[in-house]
């Protein structure tokens, strides 16, 4: 019933918008006709609106660029031609004589002024000067400049309020994107990605950056509310490159870069390791009661020189040999290598007035900076748009991607390399790989892992879009979009015998397949009309469905007779360890209406409302409405040549709206059973126990955002900028509420609690030099500050240490390594010194051990001394970019910074100092070295007591992200080789980082994994 009502209202809404049919003028009248072309392309432009000023007459140019106005009384007329993306032109004095048709061809120039840029706003485009929401935009040129495998990384530092951090440095590793902080405790905090109008599940990592025309990020509720239930975390709109009418044009883009590790873990060298291991064995804690400590030959404490027997008791034979022969190994060096990244792309575009096409192919290969890791992506894209009839336009695109990411043991290769003793060798004297450099049961040669450990991710993806649009009436158009998206993923793992996991015996293999089919179907009705110069209306109605089906299966076996079968011979397993399959489906049904209204070209209003129904929510709670309103006031309009002092444009914006989030797994409302296994004397006894309690009331998580912004231009547009302030309140958080455990259940997904994000964003662009002696120099600055906090939790609790949530603190995701954290731990207070022995004893500690702050002052160290130490949310982030052009040469630089956040140095936490494994070289305590940095090595302490308290550091950094120097070859030099354009450039990507932390990268690598690297590359771009 509800559905039908909505449909009826949709129809009546569009009926209201239909203009009355107007009889054509008769009698002694004349007309005007002409062809509208682009100045740059010299091609006809379709869809240009030509208005006879002083009348209500407006016509639109046809695909041949021709417009015709009839029924004009004789006289002189003024025409105004305007189209999105072009500077409007006014043609004065067109004489019309009765019975004749005057000719007035018009040439339009692409708009260049920043405020006049066209931006994609979701289900349509808008001139930037008409935008009322907070939208950030990044152009193709800026995207192309960053040689990255993942297109989203290219907009890092380009849009204020968008925080993009790397989650690792393995080839093909992902990024984490947060738009204006994060708001959800359990549901996803990832933004919605939309390619050419079709949501792209799982990000845009498969997309080739070279195919992207622009990326827009919708930030405030007014902009995102049209995506309703999916918009709470921001929306990233990606527009792909389309064909242009005109001669066929082909381009070849290529680059080749080398990659080198820029930071490494400084571990104990051979001498340092020997000293540290001796100290661990010398520590009195290591000595059994009534025994002589090591290095006390003859009962007198001695050194290795005076008591060589101590070394014999301390070191492995292999280590003693290494010390004797001086054969030491830098294991990190051994598994690192110079990486490379190469990309080749061919694009062909072209078409005529009726049909346009774009075809491109891209090959990308990255050889990782770590042995046995690489990434290979092959990709093809075809895009076609054509005019089927005068009023009907159809088009479609297909993206085919195949990528293979090979990770071997992943970050674990470095865990191994860092822990291995430097007093050992990777190869024996015959040059054969030594699997076990020492007899230690946990360690092996990381090169053996690189050879015998496979973890391969293969992705095949087909993503298509198909549309048809019909011009129904002047200004009224209908468009249907269909977007199927098929992804096949296969993860193959094989762990051979000669690996750390298996220590020489046994092997395992597993294949996991995931198949996702997603489709979107949109029905769109748009209406644009100008009523004189007073009213301008741009209305959109949408009915949309999206449906996703996910299927997965996995098989894991162990003990294969031959290892060459890797994971491709699961039938050869002696035991099947695991076998499984799963299907899950969800659907979303939406209705949306948007009205953009402009009054007197000065006052802007945007009203949107979206009704979403989600299958994932409980019956009766499936539908929700997400309205928004935005107002704009163009105080100063540069088009009208208004100015106030140096200010030549100023627009005030304000918006309020709600968005939602349903990113919980399907079937949460139903409850479910958990499979269990038992056996009765070998006979299987599989069972199902009550697993999760159903929640028939599960509903939407909603975020209400208020945003106030202003866009301004100074000095004739030489300095433009945008400032936004916002507050987003999220309530009814989808959250796992913990249940009393004695009920037999641990949690239920409910709508409880609230979070808040408050922030400010500033983006400035300055054209510092504009043609001064031929020099163009522009500088961009962004600044963002976001405060995230939990406002309430379930049951009015103020603290939920079990989940790691506290009211007033930011959202903590303690169970995810790559997500944000609030650090709740003991506070490190140095090392107990000899002079404080008595006090140490009262806490049950000894000199040389870690001292923590007795936070509650009860004279005991226990769990209640844990305090909130800090969090990973930066106080502010910023970026600076600069570009200078001079006579075909260009230089550009980009720097980014995140300031005021705390990282946990997992290298230090894992540094056991037990004399067994190597680790970061630290200044450890000994009786003669009263260090306050690290405890005394102790052979018998697997984990130093309160060892976790070490290693919390300020993670602030400044990174030089990109430096590019390019040269455009003058066309006259190219004609002989048949090229039309050519540019050669050199880029240094991530060349430097300035930080006080000791982690490999405060942004993406705080443990012992693949380190951060720099890329130096040379590239060329050639047009034919």
């Amino acid at each position: 019933m509800k559905r039908r009502l909505i449909t009826v209202s949709l129809l009546s809404a569009c009926a209201l918008l239909l203009p009355a049919t107007r009889a054509s003028a008769q009698g002694t009248t004349g007309g005007i006709t002409g062809v509208i072309t682009g100045v740059e392309s010299n091609q006809p432009i379709q869809g240009v609106r030509v208005t006879v000023l002083g009348t209500q007459l407006t016509v639109t140019s046809n695909p041949q660029g021709r417009y015709t106005i009839a029924g004009l009384a004789a006289g002189m007329y003024r025409l105004r031609a305007s189209a999105i993306g072009y500077t409007p032109v006014i043609v004065d004095s067109v004489p019309v004589r009765a019975g004749q048709v005057a000719n007035a061809d018009i040439a339009l120039r692409h708009q260049t002024v920043e405020l006049e840029k066209v931006v994609v706003v979701g289900y349509g485009t808008l001139a930037k000067r008409d935008v009322t929401g907070a939208v950030g935009s990044v152009a193709a040129e800026q995207i192309k400049q960053i040689p990255t495998t993942n297109a989203i990384e290219a907009i890092k530092g380009r849009v204020a309020g968008v925080d993009i951090t790397s989650t690792g440095y393995k080839p093909g590793d992902g990024v984490r994107v947060r738009v204006r902080g994060q708001r959800s405790l359990k549901a996803s905090n990832d933004p919605l990605y939309v390619l050419d109008g079709i949501p792209m599940a799982g990000g845009i990592g498969d997309l080739n950056p070279g195919d992207i025309q622009s990326i827009e990020v919708l930030k405030d509720a007014s902009a995102t509310a049209i995506y309703g239930s999916r918009g709470a975390n921001g929306v990233v709109l990606v527009t792909s490159k389309k064909g242009q009418a005109g001669a066929m044009r082909s381009t070849f883009d290529t680059y080749y870069g080398i990659q080198d590790i820029t930071r490494r873990v400084e571990v104990f060298d051979a001498q340092g390791y020997a000293d540290y291991k001796r100290e661990a064995y010398r520590n009195p804690n290591s000595v059994a009661a009534g025994k002589q400590p090591i290095y006390t030959c003859g009962g007198v404490a001695g050194s290795p020189e005076t008591c060589p027997e101590g070394d014999a008791l301390t070191f492995y034979t292999e280590e003693l040999n290494a010390m004797k022969n001086g054969t030491f190994t830098d294991w990190q060096d051994l598994i690192s290598r110079r990486g490379s990244q190469v990309s080749n792309q061919v694009s062909v575009t072209g078409g005529n007035e009726r049909n346009q096409y774009a075809v491109s192919g891209n090959l990308l290969k990255q050889i990782g900076v770590t042995q046995a890791q690489d990434y290979d992506r092959k990709q093809m894209r075809v895009n076609y748009e054509g005019q089927a009839r005068d009023r009907i336009r159809v088009g479609g695109s297909v993206l085919l991607v195949r990528s293979l990411q090979r990770l071997s043991r992943g970050d674990g290769l470095y865990s191994e390399a860092i822990a291995d003793t430097p007093l050992s060798v990777p190869y024996d004297s015959a040059g054969n790989l030594v699997f076990k450099p020492t007899p230690d049961a946990q360690r092996d040669n990381p090169l053996a892992d690189a050879n015998n450990w496979l973890n391969d991710n293969l992705r095949n993806r087909v993503f298509g879009t198909l549309f048809a649009s019909v011009d129904l009436l002047p200004g009224l158009a209908y468009r249907a979009n269909f977007g199927p998206d098929l992804t096949f993923e296969r993860n193959g793992q094989f762990i051979g015998a000669q690996t750390q996991a298996n220590q020489g015996a046994g092997n395992q293999a597993e294949i996991r397949n995931r198949r996702t089919f997603d489709y979107t179907l949109d029905n769109l009705l748009t209406y644009k009309r100008e009523l004189g110069r007073i009213h301008k209306i741009d209305a959109t109605l949408l009915y949309s469905i999206e449906k996703q089906t996910f299927e997965g299966d996995s098989t894991r076996g162990q003990n294969f007779v031959y290892e060459s079968g890797i994971y491709e011979n699961l039938g050869g397993a002696a035991n099947v360890e695991r076998i499984g399959s799963v299907i899950s489906q969800w659907a979303l049904q939406s209705y949306m209406a948007r009205l953009n209204y402009t009054l007197l070209d000065k006052y802007l209003l945007t009203l949107t409302t979206r009704v979403d129904g989600s299958s994932r929510l409980a019956e009766g709670n499936k539908y929700a409405t997400f309205p928004s309103v935005a107002l704009g006031y163009r105080v100063l309009d540069e088009n009208a040549n208004q100015r106030f002092g140096p200010l030549n444009s100023l627009k005030l914006r304000g918006s309020y709206g709600t968005t939602g989030n349903t990113s919980v797994d399907p079937y949460q409302t139903q409850g479910g059973l958990t499979r269990t296994a038992y056996s009765y004397g070998g006979a299987p006894g599989f069972g199902y126990r009550p697993g999760s309690l159903p929640n028939p009331a599960l509903s939407w998580e909603k975020t209400a955002t208020v945003d106030v912004g202003l866009d301004f231009g100074l000095f004739d547009g030489r300095l433009t900028g945008t400032v936004d302030g916002y507050r987003a309140n999220t309530k009814d958080l989808l959250m796992d509420r913990q249940l009393l455990l004695w009920t037999g259940y641990s949690s239920i997904t409910q709508n409880v609690g609230a979070t808040r994000n408050t922030g400010i964003e500033v983006a400035l662009t300055g054209i510092t030099l504009d043609g001064w002696h031929g020099i163009h120099w522009t500088n961009d600055v962004t600044f963002s500050k976001n405060k995230n906090e939990i406002v309430s939790l379930s049951n009015g609790q103020l603290a939920d240490p079990g989940n790691g949530w506290w009211v007033g603190q930011p959202i903590n995701n303690p169970n995810s390594n790559s997500d944000n954290h609030v650090w709740y731990d003991y506070k490190f207070d140095g090392i107990w010194q000899t002079a404080d022995s008595a006090q140490a004893r009262s806490f049950g500690r000894k000199p040389g051990e870690i001292r923590i702050v007795d936070a509650n002052g009860d004279g005991k160290f226990n769990a209640s001394d844990k305090v909130i130490l800090g969090n990973t949310y930066p106080k502010w982030t910023g970026s600076f970019s600069s570009r200078l052009d001079y006579r075909g040469f260009d230089v550009s630089l980009q720097a980014i910074t995140r300031q005021g956040f705390m990282v946990r140095n997992d290298l230090q936490r894992g540094n056991t100092l037990a004399g067994r494994y190597n680790g970061p070289a630290v200044n450890f305590w000994t009786p003669s070295n009263p260090s306050n940095e690290a405890p005394r090595p102790d052979k018998n302490t697997e984990n130093p007591v309160f060892g976790d308290a070490r290693g919390y550091e300020d993670g602030s950094f400044v990174k030089i992200r990109n430096i590019t120097v390019g040269a455009t070859i003058p066309p006259r030099l190219l004609t002989r080789v048949g090229a039309q354009s050519a540019r050669i450039y050199f880029t240094a990507q991530d060349p430097w980082m300035f930080t006080n932390t000791s982690v490999l990268d405060p942004e993406g690598q705080t443990g012992n994994g693949v380190p951060i690297f720099r890329t130096l590359l040379i590239g060329g771009s050639f047009g034919f």
């Binding site: 129809l11 469905i545 003990n559 059973l673 056996s679 009765y680 299987p684 009393l740």
Partner: protein, 555 residues
């Protein structure tokens, strides 16, 4: 544009929008791979719920959690070099309601109880023969009793849910210990009535298992809260004896010829097993497996001539035998090794060299021994320097024992694992064994003043443990028992059942936990207090209970 033209376009447009809306997606969810609770009303769903009642047993005793809570902090074992749960042994302030083991024990057993409640509830409606339903409800009551029994001994007064949970519950009450015991006894009695003498499938609950459990329940209830020593008389002792006597007299069961036969991994399901938690070598059905082989094992792999292998197992060095148990540092040891074979049969003291690369060299540069020769030996007595120098292998006398190197309990070693570091083991964990039933029966009789009945039972166990020719010498007399009393019984239980996940509760029910830790556990003796007789309630549960649950005193 003309009106007809408009109409021509409007109609298909309207059709599209209406059609799109009418043919819209169905937002109703239908799980396919998953299943919801209506499944339990079907016969196969009912059986599936029965099977899943057994799983919580697997996630406790055969893992570090259950063993830590029963082996640590007793007279038998103290902490070795490794592990994060040493505070269960030292009774330090880290032993508090935040400890995950205490939370998970609570959670898993209550999960099992909720599953058992679901079975009992579903039996009313499921379409199965009454005999089958009654049998399964008997299993459910046995397991519910076992889980409540473990919880009440661990935490004291506890919530006592007897019906399946159907909605969010925010408050609860701790039922008095006596009431919990009444329910446990009732469940055991129901199980005894419903279950056959021998289950159709090995590993399922049957009557002797329920009788064994009920016997131990009575014996434990009679022990009170663990603070009383000596114990006052109680009718529970006779009731315990009645149940345990039925087990001991059951012709299905008998003692194996040698003590060590119980730990032969090829000899599972033998006649000494009353009830065992089941594992297999099939990864699909064995879950996490029995991991106890990891925790008692010394770090032999760091010794000369050795490397880690499957047969010697993976050395986690968690549980180190106390000097009281092994007999050094002033303690005589619990076994009379001249006549009692059990120490030798349960402790591994010799490691055979398996690593040619690591064998020490003699003065002339030749390996002191070869692979296959002894590399490490723990003779149980200290050697002089001269004696040590006279042998080629390494000697660990008791005073050489470290937190990482000590005799290794071999009861759980699992040489059938397929790789060195494999954690899941396939050994069944025998929770109820006849020798234990005999010793508990003897204890019940002794408590009930029937030493004459107790002594032959104890001697039956001791005689089996005798070295050749020492059978008679192992015997004790009524006078011996009456002189030694509960201390003798506890010592005998240690001799027979070392490391078998009952000790902490044995000491508690006999009122001897604090005394014996103070006497025999150097690491725990300074911290243990009477309040440690109960473990803390999980803080998470208290936090969630809106103040309706209170923490046990002292924590």
């Amino acid at each position: 544009m003309t009106l007809p033209m408009t109409r021509r376009l409007l109609l298909p447009l309207a059709a599209l929008l209406v059609g799109g809306a009418a043919g819209c997606v169905d937002l109703k969810e239908t799980p396919i791979s998953g299943i919801t609770s209506s499944f339990y009303s079907t016969p196969s769903g009912f059986e599936a719920a029965v099977n899943s009642m057994y799983t919580p047993a697997r996630t406790h005793w055969p893992l570090e959690r259950g063993s830590t809570m029963t082996v640590f902090g007793t007279d038998e074992f103290t902490n070795g070099a490794d592990g994060s749960y040493k505070f269960f042994n030292t009774y330090s302030a880290q032993l508090n309601g935040d400890v995950d083991f205490l939370r998970d024990t609570w959670r898993d057993f209550y999960q099992g109880i909720n599953t058992a409640n679901t079975v009992i509830d579903a039996a009313a409606t499921v379409n199965l023969p009454d005999a089958q339903k009654s049998l399964r409800v008997g299993e459910a009551k046995f397991l519910r009793a076992l889980y409540f029994f473990t919880l009440v001994r661990t935490y004291g007064a506890i919530p006592l849910p007897l019906t399946p949970t159907t909605g969010v519950v925010t408050e609860t009450t701790r039922e008095p210990v006596a009431k919990v015991y009444e329910q446990i006894i009732k469940d055991c009695q129901d199980a005894i009535a419903a279950l056959p003498d021998k289950a159709a499938q090995f590993g399922r609950a049957d009557r002797p298992a329920a009788q064994y459990l009920l016997g131990e329940v009575y014996l434990t209830r009679a022990g009170g809260d663990g603070t009383q020593d000596p114990l006052p008389p109680s009718p529970d002792f006779a009731l315990a004896a009645e149940q345990l006597q039925a087990v001991v007299d059951n012709p299905r069961f008998g003692l194996l010829a040698q003590y060590k036969d119980n730990f032969d991994i090829q000899n599972e399901g033998n006649k000494e097993v009353v009830w065992a938690i089941q594992f297999t070598n099939d990864p699909l059905t064995t879950g996490d497996g029995n991991k106890l082989h990891l925790y008692f094992t010394a770090a032999y792999d760091l010794e000369p001539g050795m490397l880690r292998d499957i047969a010697n197992d993976r050395p986690f060095r968690r549980f180190k035998p106390t000097p009281w148990q092994l007999g050094y540092a002033g303690f005589p040891g619990i076994w009379d090794k001249t006549k009692d074979a059990r120490y030798e049969q349960m402790y591994k003291v010799v490691w055979i060299s398996n690593n040619p690369n690591n064998i020490p060299k003699d003065a002339s540069g030749n390996p002191k021994y070869n692979v296959g020769d002894t590399a490490v030996y723990m003779p149980g007595v200290d050697y002089t320097a001269a004696q040590k120098a006279a042998v080629r292998y390494k000697i660990y006398g008791p005073s050489d024992y470290t937190d990482a190197m000590f005799p290794t309990l071999n009861k759980y070693l699992d040489p059938t694992r397929t790789s060195t570091n494999q954690e899941p083991g396939q050994r069944d964990l025998v929770l109820f064994r006849l020798d234990n039933a005999i010793l508990m029966l003897a204890e019940a009789y002794w408590r009930d003043g029937r030493s004459d009945l107790a002594v032959p039972l104890i001697n039956r166990v001791r005689e089996r443990a005798a070295k050749p020719g020492m059978t008679a010498a192992m015997d004790i007399t009524i006078a011996d028992l009456d002189a030694g009393g509960i201390n003798f019984i506890l010592d005998e239980r240690a001799r027979e059942l070392t490391g078998e996940t009952t000790r902490w509760f044995d000491l508690k029910r006999t009122g001897k936990l604090i005394e014996r830790v103070q006497l025999y556990n150097a690491e725990g003796k300074n911290n243990i207090k009477p309040f440690h007789l109960l473990r803390p309630i999980p803080n998470q549960e208290i936090l969630l209970s809106n103040g309706s649950l209170t923490q046990n005193p002292g924590y």
